[in-house]
């Protein structure tokens, strides 16, 4: 039986043993984003590339110049630039859901999963995941909606206080609480996803039920592990932005790209770490017991015992 640290260790071991998944997902993440930014890039090229004024964006970041660029009619509407980001986020989410079964299969295997097996797992679990994601979306959406509603209400109530910081503190406390609760739900549905794939469970509701049972049964271990990873990812993001801001020269596009992408790879890996934790937990606690055939016990054949006389003591006869 693994404790929380054991889960974390085994989870990170799975991620480390299957680094290619991180690489693929990162490449997908980056490629989709590059497509999403195409409209922005084209519009910016036309305005910036031949103007000396753009130096104020390269050698620093003059917010007023950036604002002027966004406000130019030639740049088009900001929604035309914003919407691709939302489409890309949606696409990445769909792609993640599509390929996750293969990832879980790979994490649970003690050998390098072939590409064929990876995609086989993805295809076999496609509709199960669709159903699972609908249920998780509804449950998590409702819970998040309620929690954010409560948060908004409490912050508004706190705003009546003469303490200026109270609404801020209440907002932060509620946000922390929302992260905890959503992490609990995330771990529950991660267990359900793992169970669907690794148990080859066609009845998704059973996996969801198992996810809830185990998720709450091991709430400290699982949620604790998930929160530790969430905190690590958040710290990495803060540290990455700090390095980007403090150590990368303003005009170094390559430096900014490298630091930014390293940060994003680590945060992406953090989520896979959580999934590794879920697989490790499943292997510990949720795997169906293997029933082995009981071998009949047959009596051993009687063997005659022969007692030989002891050798005579004294000088050896030579």
């Amino acid at each position: 039986m693994s404790d929380g640290k054991g889960l974390l260790r085994r989870g990170v071991g799975m991620v480390a043993g299957n680094k290619r998944y991180i690489l693929w997902f990162w490449l997908l993440n980056l490629t989709l984003a590059e497509f999403g930014v195409a409209a922005f890039r084209n519009q910016a090229h036309a305005i910036l590339d031949n103007s000396l004024y753009s130096g104020r964006l390269l050698k620093g970041f003059d917010v007023t110049v950036f604002g002027e660029m966004l406000g130019k009619p030639e740049f088009g509407s900001t929604s035309a630039v914003m919407m691709p980001a939302i489409y890309v986020a949606t696409l990445f989410f769909v792609a993640t859901a599509l390929f996750l079964p293969g990832v879980f299969q790979g994490y649970a295997s003690n050998y390098r999963l072939s590409r064929e097996d990876f995609f086989h797992a993805c295809g076999r679990n496609l509709w199960r995941f669709v159903r699972l994601l609908i249920v998780s979306g509804v449950v998590m959406g409702i819970v998040a909606g309620i929690l954010f509603g409560i948060r908004a209400g409490l912050v508004k109530a706190a705003d009546a206080s003469t303490s200026e910081l109270l609404p801020v503190q209440v907002g932060m406390a509620m946000t922390a609480l929302i992260v905890v609760i959503m992490s609990i739900l995330r771990s529950v549905f991660d267990l359900a996803e793992v169970d669907v794939v690794l148990s080859d469970q066609g009845a998704v509701r059973r996996s969801i039920g198992a996810g809830f049972r185990h998720g709450f049964r091991s709430i400290f271990r699982l949620t604790g592990s998930y929160l530790v990873i969430w905190v690590v990812a958040s710290l990495v993001m803060v540290a990455g932005l700090w390095v980007w801001n403090k150590m990368v020269p303003p005009a170094s596009v390559l430096g900014a790209f490298v630091v930014g992408q390293l940060t994003l790879i680590i945060t992406l890996a953090a989520r896979f770490w959580q999934r590794g934790v879920a697989v490790a937990y499943w292997q510990d606690k949720m795997v169906a017991p293997v029933v082995r055939p009981v071998m009949p016990i047959t009596p051993a054949p009687a063997v005659p015992v022969v007692f030989e006389p002891p050798l005579p003591s004294g000088p050896a006869a030579t």
């Binding site: 003059d62 409490l154 109530a157 709430i219 596009v253 994003l264």
Partner: protein, 693 residues
């Protein structure tokens, strides 16, 4: 198992705990319990009981006191003397007061009627102010939904003219601007006996205010109150007529100089700040305090009270004498008190050096209640800043607001222009001096923001607010005639600042500085017009600038000069082609041409700098009249770039990107921005996938 169920209840318990905490704190928003009995104010004494000594003696006049100024004689032509005794009910947010207004008729003609502003009546659903704010926007209030707490009113209980009797029944609401019969922000009274030129008249007014939850920098929020535009105020006789406009969503104020003696009675737990200097303080038996303030050579009076202000005081030695600086800070902002003081001192220093002396003995800087829509307002010797618990030093919002509002002590406070009709002369000129002062203190490109690798300068910020609304309204438009609030803001503040910065480029920085100094010294304590200001600049510079003023101040012309096209190719290009494209780089003669284009309808001479790859740079002058022009060169050098306005003297060009053209394009800036956007998109994608799958 029990433990697990307990864990399940953890979120519920947490929410309940946070709710209780919130409710506990929210309960503290009410005034301290001991204040409650005294908060219900008795009926105000009859107006007739309050008599000025002068009035009682029958020798009515305006005092020539110099208690609140560092001067041995009055600095303004004092037209009014307000004596007000007011009691504030902190529970009901009401003011009951008696006002004695002594008015000196310096108009040169007999006056048979007097209009008064009743500004608090603006905060009513059918009033012009609310109607306009809902229709065309407002700085603080959108009125998506009307709430009763937003209601304000100013009711005259009795109105007596000394020697002419009670004229309460003669009061008539008038609507000189829009004819809105539901607007009660101006009341007019006809006197049975006209007031002769040079004579004095005394009005005795009892009034009752219901303050709204802060609207337009006036009213209450939680246990805080800002008493701005709270008493009946007489209009200004200006250019042969009364000037007393209704209160509009975009307008500010206009009033005559004079003397203010105000007695404020408030609960004794309140910390109070006000215009002028405090000259009396009495603690009453009913747990109230009466504070007396005196102001000389000012044209309005504002005050604030909150039980939670923390006070920092210090003295600034001005050119005319010591000034008591008083900072009323929110407890959560106490660590920002030094920033408030530093920027106040540095701003005072610049204004005194550049424009003229600050003559008052006091300056109160209020850090108002958060979320109260009270930040960033000016009253004589009394300003409000705008801060928050989160105020990193690189974000210069505190400095920007305090500087701006202090600047109004000059451009509004002393040079008392008509804010209803010439808003650009207070807000705009003040925005220009804000650029000058903040640039000198915080740096030209970082005077607004210098945080986390991001920068912003005041001059570009002002221009930025203008270029989006550049062709909508003229600077000279009446403040209430702008198409909407955005246009009012962009033109009044942003365009004026940009127009005056551009003017520096035309007449020279030193000349402009001299003109501003001359204007201030000549027109302080008066009500100058647009032409007074513009003519001062022309006189000081010795230039006829009508061509500029007609377009920039009185017109809506938009400036947009740009590089239309550039070209640079070998003169003997056909020979190079015959040689198979091989060129003798050193001796190749290039024909280079630069076309300039006037895209806008604003005509102004411009300079262009053309650079070549041998290091040569050529400057050309274009009168800018035709739609386009071109400059051509034949040199043993290839053209590198062309830049209009290379010294960056023009600040009203709508498009700065097309002011230059570099032959060899560089995508570095685009790549940098795209990289930001890629990062944000990836991160957003990961967040969605983190919680979603």
């Amino acid at each position: 198992m029990r433990i697990r169920w307990a864990i399940l209840f953890f979120p519920v318990v947490s929410v309940v705990a946070i709710s209780l905490l919130v409710m506990g704190h929210a309960a503290k928003a009410a005034p301290p319990p001991q204040a409650a009995p005294t908060a219900v104010m008795p009926t105000p004494p009859k107006a007739t009981k309050t008599m000025t000594p002068a009035a009682a003696a029958g020798a009515v006049s305006i005092p020539d006191t110099v208690i609140a100024v560092n001067s041995d004689k009055p600095m303004s032509e004092r037209v009014v003397h307000y004596e007000i005794e007011a009691k504030y009910d902190a529970v009901k947010h009401t003011i009951d007061a008696n006002e004695v207004l002594t008015y000196h008729n310096v108009t040169g003609q007999a006056l048979d009627h007097f209009p008064f502003h009743l500004y608090q009546n603006a905060f009513q659903p059918k009033a012009t102010w609310v109607r306009e704010a809902k229709l065309t926007g407002n700085r603080d209030t959108s009125y998506a939904k009307w709430e009763d707490k937003e209601f304000g009113s100013e009711e005259i209980k009795s109105f007596e003219v000394v020697g002419q009797g009670d004229l309460t029944q003669q009061l008539q609401f008038v609507q000189p601007d829009d004819g809105n019969r539901d607007d009660k922000t101006v009341v007019d009274v006809h006197l049975p006996k006209p007031i002769a030129p040079g004579a004095y008249v005394q009005f005795k007014i009892a009034f009752h205010d219901q303050m709204p939850e802060t609207q337009a920098r006036s009213g209450w929020k939680r246990d805080f109150v800002l008493g701005g535009q709270w008493f009946p105020k007489v209009g200004v006789w200006w250019h042969g007529a009364w000037n007393c406009h209704q209160y509009h969503a975009t307008t500010e104020f206009f009033a005559d100089f004079g003397v203010y003696d105000v007695k404020l009675t408030v609960p004794d737990y309140e910390v109070v700040g006000a215009s002028g200097v405090r000259v009396g303080e009495v603690h009453n038996s009913d747990k109230t305090q009466t504070l007396t303030y005196h102001g000389d050579d000012i044209h309005d009076f504002a005050w604030t009270a909150s039980p939670r202000y923390k006070v920092k005081e210090s003295t600034y030695q001005s050119q005319m004498g010591p000034i008591q600086l008083r900072f009323l800070m929110q407890p959560a902002h106490w660590d920002q008190a030094d920033r408030h003081e530093k920027i106040t001192r540095e701003t005072l220093d610049r204004f005194e050096k550049w424009y003229g002396p600050y003559p008052y003995k006091s300056l109160t800087v209020v850090d108002p209640e958060p979320g109260s829509a009270s930040g960033g307002m000016e009253y004589p010797t009394f300003i409000t800043g705008d801060s928050s618990w989160f105020a990193p030093e690189g974000i210069h919002l505190i400095e920007l607001v305090v500087e701006h509002e202090f600047g109004h002590q000059y451009w509004y406070g002393m040079v008392a222009t008509n804010e209803f009709e010439d808003a650009w002369m207070d807000e705009g000129i003040n925005s220009y001096t804000e650029v000058k002062v903040l640039d000198s203190i915080l740096g030209e490109d970082t005077s607004v923001l210098n945080y986390a690798g991001m920068t912003a300068g005041e001059r570009e910020l002002q221009r930025g607010t203008y270029i989006g609304v550049a062709d909508l309204d003229a600077m000279s438009e009446k403040a209430y005639d702008f198409v909407d609030f955005n246009s009012y803001g962009g033109i009044t503040y942003g365009k004026t600042a940009s127009v005056l910065l551009t003017l520096e480029g035309i007449i020279g920085k030193d000349v402009m500085a001299q003109a501003m100094h001359t204007y201030f010294m000549k027109y302080r304590f008066t009500h100058p017009t647009k032409e007074d200001f513009l003519k001062t600049i022309e006189e000081v510079s010795g230039k006829d600038l009508r061509w500029y003023f007609n377009q920039a101040v009185y017109g809506t012309q938009v400036m947009d000069y740009g590089i239309f096209r550039v070209d640079s190719f070998p003169v003997n290009w056909y020979e190079d082609d015959k040689k198979g494209g091989k060129k003798d780089a050193k001796n190749t003669v290039y024909r280079s041409t630069v076309w300039l284009h006037r895209r806008g309808d604003f005509v102004m001479p411009v300079e262009v700098e053309i650079k070549f790859d041998n290091g040569d740079a050529v400057r050309e002058h274009w009168n800018g009249v035709d739609r386009w022009t071109k400059f051509g060169y034949e040199k043993k050098a290839k053209l590198v770039s062309a830049e209009l306005d290379p010294d960056h003297k023009i600040h009203i060009d709508r498009n700065n990107f097309n002011n230059s053209y570099v032959v060899e394009s560089s995508a570095s800036a685009t790549r940098k921005l795209s990289n930001y956007w890629v990062f944000i998109t990836q991160w957003l994608s990961q967040v969605v996938a983190w919680w979603g799958a």
